[in-house]
Amino acid sequence: MNLAIQPERPKPNSASKAKAIIETRDFSFAYGPTQALFDISMDIHKKEVTALIGPSGCGKSTFLRCFNRMNDLIDNTRILSGQIKISGIDIYKRDVDVIELRKHVGMVFQKSNPFPKSIYDNIAYGLRIQGIKRKSELDEVVERCLRGAALWDEVKDRLGDSALGMSGGQQQRLCIARALAVKPKIILMDEPCSALDPVATAKVEELIHGLKTDYTIVIVTHNMQQAARLSDRTAFFYLGKLIEYGPTEQIFMNPENPKTEAYVSGRFG
């Protein structure tokens, strides 16, 4: 099994508490009567890619959606215990404005969901809803985001075309670009490549790798090679519990828990 871990990758600094941007403490979460997450505690570090892996239904997507409170949209969800702090603030406190939180924590969904508008309008959407209307400012942001998502050269001549005319991979990169427009600090990605072919996947991965210098990225993936290629740290979830969390190299090469070892070597899941 070729894990293709780049040797030049800087070693994640596991000891520094100051670098943690998301701190989760004993977090338990339930959909109605079914508990989905059990006492999860982990720190996600600034400007790193953190991968959440695990078999289907293990709660990794649920956990991801807790970071920008997307689960609020689902009825009958509740937090049983614990807290999640982003930049030191408990995001489930009553005085937290979800809108501000979501501007800070962007999200890219499993199924690419560009709005049925032009490419330009898709990127500008995040700014327009904040009341920014100046054309020059919007133009500048659209270009910056499309360049940031390595999409500018492909679409610069057809910014007015519908976003739905793009290929699947381009649509997903457009969604990433759209998320960049509101200047988030953290970007959550829920299996962003699950519907893409290998070439498009490679492009998105390249993009994620490049984004790491400016953003903290949390990515849920089913693809173990992808986790190994992309991430600095990996968390393995199983049945709603965090089984093991550590530097990616360690999780894949030298896991402590036998379940982790079985999963990453492909013996179950």
Partner: protein, 400 residues
């Protein structure tokens, strides 16, 4: 004769295939029946109604019929042809009875009677042509303006209510009723549908609310009419008025509009809502920018269709808004602007009801009866068509 050998994929007859053919043809037959019924309805109304609405000389449309108020029709039949025709009709009846009384052997006599009857028929036709050429028709206004009335020793004078003039006030009244109730029903229904589909939490209560709204559409229209009469006309004291009609029609159209709007909004992919919320949009912003625009074509089409359907009802406006006859247009004789809303109007469906049930059917009233139905059909068709065009237009702007 030896049976030809069937290869593996050859068609073999079986019971299953027979049933297949019968079922398919049954469906086809039923569809043709429906099309035939609809085609006959449209053909009948158009053929008879166009006599009143169109005319042989320019401008080809009978403007008077579309703009004037209904009036009594005064008909002066020339007496001589009238009497001649009546006389021959009696003779024909007599001959027919005689022919019936004959035994089966009198073929000669029978042919003779039949010939006589045919001759009389031909004579009647000639007299009838003369009668049509000589008769005089006046609407009420024209009749009053006459310097001297036709000589009653030469003419037989008959009057037919509602059959002269036109249906202008009824057309205006119907358009007013439709536009007003669209405005009320759409705003009420849309807001309600947004709440139900986007804000309310699913559960038993919501189910019950949905069910009761759906049941509302099964309530007979006369019940809505009585409700409007009790609520708006009496309790609110609005009297028989446009505004009472608006609200009655709007409430009647609400269930359709709410159900259709909710359906259109639920058909919008979840991803659009989540996508915009994840970008920091508030709930209302996300609905306004990413749900409503895409749901709008469906909402508008079904709403306008719903209203057009309701606007054709006679029962709800019978007690609340419609007058059988009113000789003032809605903007005439207002003492203050608000009076506009508190006056009854004429309306096409009620006018159809009146002219088809309250006056006799004959050659003088037919034009009015069919003409009104034709114009009404045309107006409802126009609303339906415009809603479809609107949908095509809006739909091409937002596609996913």
């Amino acid at each position: 004769m030896a049976k030809p050998k069937l290869h593996r994929f050859a068609i073999r007859s079986s019971r299953k295939k027979t049933i297949e053919v019968i079922v398919a043809n049954l469906f086809r037959l039923m569809t043709y029946c429906v099309i035939l019924a609809a085609a006959y309805l449209f053909f009948d109304i158009t053929a008879n109604g166009s006599k009143a609405v169109f005319q042989g000389k320019a401008p080809f449309i009978n403007i008077q019929f579309l703009t004037e108020k209904p009036q009594t029709l005064h008909v002066f039949e020339p007496l001589e042809p009238y009497n001649e025709i009546q006389k021959r009709r009696t003779q024909i009846l007599q001959l027919q009875s005689k022919r019936k009384a004959l035994g089966s052997n009198d073929t000669e006599q029978r042919t003779e009677y039949s010939e006589q009857i045919d001759n009389l028929q031909a004579e009647i036709e000639r007299w009838d042509a003369q009668r049509k050429a000589e008769r005089l028709k006046y609407s009420d206004d024209a009749y009053r303006a006459l310097d001297h009335t036709p000589d009653l020793s030469m003419f037989k004078h008959q009057t037919y209510a509602y059959s002269g003039g036109g249906i202008g006030p009824a057309i205006i009244g119907t358009c007013l009723l439709v536009l007003g109730s669209i405005a009320i029903a759409l705003s009420l229904g849309l807001l309600c549908a947004i709440y139900l589909s986007e804000y309310s939490r699913p559960g038993k209560t919501l189910q019950a609310i949905r069910l009761s709204i759906l049941n509302l559409s099964g309530v007979p229209s006369i019940v809505f009419g009585l409700f409007g009469f009790g609520m708006f006309v009496h309790f609110f004291g609005w009297g028989v008025s446009i505004i009472a009609g608006w609200f009655t029609l709007a409430i009647m159209a609400l269930p359709v509009i709410i159900a259709a709007s909710e359906e259109s909004m639920r058909a919008i992919p979840r991803g659009f809502r989540e996508g915009s919320l994840a970008l920091g949009a508030s709930k209302w912003t996300s609905i306004r920018t990413n749900v409503l625009p895409y749901a709008l074509p469906g909402i508008l089409t079904s709403s306008i269709m719903g209203i057009a359907r309701v606007a054709g009802e006679t029962a709800p406006i019978m007690f609340t808004a419609a007058y059988a006859l009113r000789d003032q247009l809605p903007w005439e004789g207002l003492e203050q602007p608000t009076d506009f809303f508190f006056q009854g109007v004429m309306a096409l469906p009620y006018h159809i009801y009146v002219v088809s049930s309250k006056i006799p059917q004959n050659e003088y009233t037919r034009d009015m009866q069919y003409g009104t139905a034709f114009v009404f059909l045309f107006i409802v068709g126009f609303f339906a068509l415009s809603s479809i065009l609107l949908r095509i237009h809006v739909r091409s702007k937002y596609k996913w």
